[in-house]
């Protein structure tokens, strides 16, 4: 069981900055994120795009902002549970919580801060009849263990980097790789596009474009897919396959958090914005894009502010009897849990003769 002071759900910019503000109060944090890396949307969707409204940064790339935040919070040694989705929450008699992920990892903390942005990123599923019947039965949306495809006939659908990269990788593993995409053009790194072209020319990848998979067949397990050329709708092709891997990117879903007994409005969690961004459940806060209140703006800079006030309130909740006043970092410096200390250099006092 992982124990911490503040369990943060979502490792986007708001969740990351909360670690810093908590650290100033000597509170330890642990973060859970469904994505395999920290940074949330900034890392997953637009790492190379500039942001112009981070105070003090006339322009910063989303990916660089995340790197900076990771550097800023490093002294506070946050823990991470990545690639797992927070699934269940249980309130204990002492008012603390246990949060369990979809992989069964348990986390225990007196304070929960949901910084879940738009939700957890889930694979986009194609609209096909009987899709769920073949899920984990010939259809997978993520490749966790490439070896399972050894000597199998695989069809991949999609036109982005992951479709290209996995087609390239599996070309050496699988018995047969077919890549189906709606257009002739692919949206990926130039290297990958060229590599797929090469493999196609060598006959190692069977490329079918512009085309779409329109049907699934098989008794219990997937046995074949129906491919329709977009240019010639009358002649569908039946392709025998063992596995179908649709790679259409990820889309955010609020997911299991929606069933945690929190008040939800407009796909977001209602919080008290007059005080501390607490939800209707005492001890559970929601900060950043995932919350809503009158006048809410989904901006990173607003998330930073919300994270700061949340931490102050969390401190009061954990230590109801302790007296505390906020201290400027310029005055107090930053003392990390790793023993590091940053502080403003002392002014030199020296007489002038």
């Amino acid at each position: 069981m992982i124990k911490t002071d503040i369990l943060i759900i979502g490792a986007g910019p708001t969740g990351l900055f909360a670690v810093f503000e908590a650290g100033l109060l000597q509170l330890k944090c642990h973060l859970i994120d469904a994505l395999p890396q920290a940074g949330g949307q900034c890392s997953e969707i637009y790492p190379k795009k500039p942001i112009y409204d981070i105070p003090g940064f006339p322009e910063v790339l989303a990916g660089d902002l995340v790197n900076n935040l990771m550097e800023q919070i490093r002294p506070f040694q946050p823990g991470f549970t990545l690639g797992e989705r927070a699934e269940n929450i249980e309130k204990l008699d002492d008012g603390s919580f246990i949060v369990t992920t979809n992989k069964g990892t348990q986390h225990h903390a007196p304070i929960i801060a949901i910084a879940g942005g738009l939700g957890s990123f889930e694979p986009r599923k194609p609209l096909l009849k009987n899709l769920s019947k073949y899920e984990d039965n010939g259809i997978a949306y993520m490749i966790k263990e490439p070896e399972v495809y050894r000597n199998r006939k695989v069809v991949i659908a999609g036109g982005g980097d992951s479709a290209l990269d996995w087609s390239i990788f599996l070309a050496d593993v699988a018995a047969e790789v077919t890549l189906v995409h709606r257009r002739n053009e692919f949206r990926g790194a130039l290297d990958s596009v060229e590599k797929v072209q090469q493999l196609k020319d060598q006959g190692k990848i069977n490329l079918i474009t512009p085309a779409e998979i329109v049907g699934l067949q098989g008794e219990d397990h997937l046995e074949s897919v129906l491919i329709r050329k977009t240019t010639n709708g009358s002649e569908d092709v039946l392709l025998e396959v063992d596995d179908f891997i649709p790679l259409f990117g990820l889309s955010p879903k609020l997911g299991p958090i929606a069933n945690w007994g929190l008040e939800i409005e407009k796909n977001a969690i209602k919080v008290d914005n007059t005080l501390d961004y607490q939800t209707n459940v005492p001890g559970i806060y929601a900060i950043g894009d995932v919350n809503t209140y009158p006048g809410k703006l989904k901006l990173i800079l607003c998330g930073f502010h919300e994270a700061t006030l949340m931490c102050q309130s969390a401190y009061q909740r954990i230590f109801p009897d302790k007296k505390y006043v906020m201290k400027y970092t310029t005055v107090g410096g930053v003392t990390g849990f790793d023993g590091s200390k940053k502080e403003a250099p002392k002014a030199v006092v020296k007489a002038i003769e």
């Binding site: 949307q41 969707i45 637009y46 795009k49 738009l118 986009r124 194609p126 609209l127 999609g158 036109g159 982005g160 995409h181 709606r182 257009r183 053009e185 949206r187 259409f248 990117g249 889309s251 955010p252 609020l254 407009k266 796909n267 977001a268 809503t292 989904k298």
Partner: protein, 110 residues
């Protein structure tokens, strides 16, 4: 201040005739959101970067629209419910030429 009229059919099939300002640097996705014609969190998820297809709509009138950018083209090639007249609302900026535009919101991906 100049407004144009736009007809938007929402996902439930209800037709709305709305005024859209052309001087606010607004796009069609933002117009839909400003009139709350689709629930928050189901449209404009990526914020207007052509990186999701939650603002996909079908163009019903004969207006000439600006060409699709590579990014929009690529996103639409991976979206669902795509038709020949599909566009991403976030890529359609409100200009005087679009007065009388008629669009229908594409179904929500679930």
């Amino acid at each position: 201040m100049s407004d144009i009229k736009i007809k938007i059919t929402d996902r439930e099939g209800t037709l709305h005739e709305v005024d859209a300002p052309t001087d606010m640097n607004m796009n069609l996705m933002e117009v839909v959101r400003s009139y709350e014609l689709a629930p928050e969190g189901t449209i404009g998820i990526c914020g207007g970067m052509a990186m999701c297809a939650s603002c996909q709509c079908y163009i019903k009138s004969k207006h000439t629209l600006p060409e699709k950018s590579d990014e929009e083209e690529a996103m639409l090639s991976e979206a669902f419910f795509v038709e020949d007249n599909s566009r991403l609302g976030c890529q359609i900026h409100m200009t005087n030429d679009l007065d009388g535009l008629e669009v229908e919101l594409a179904p929500e991906e679930v």
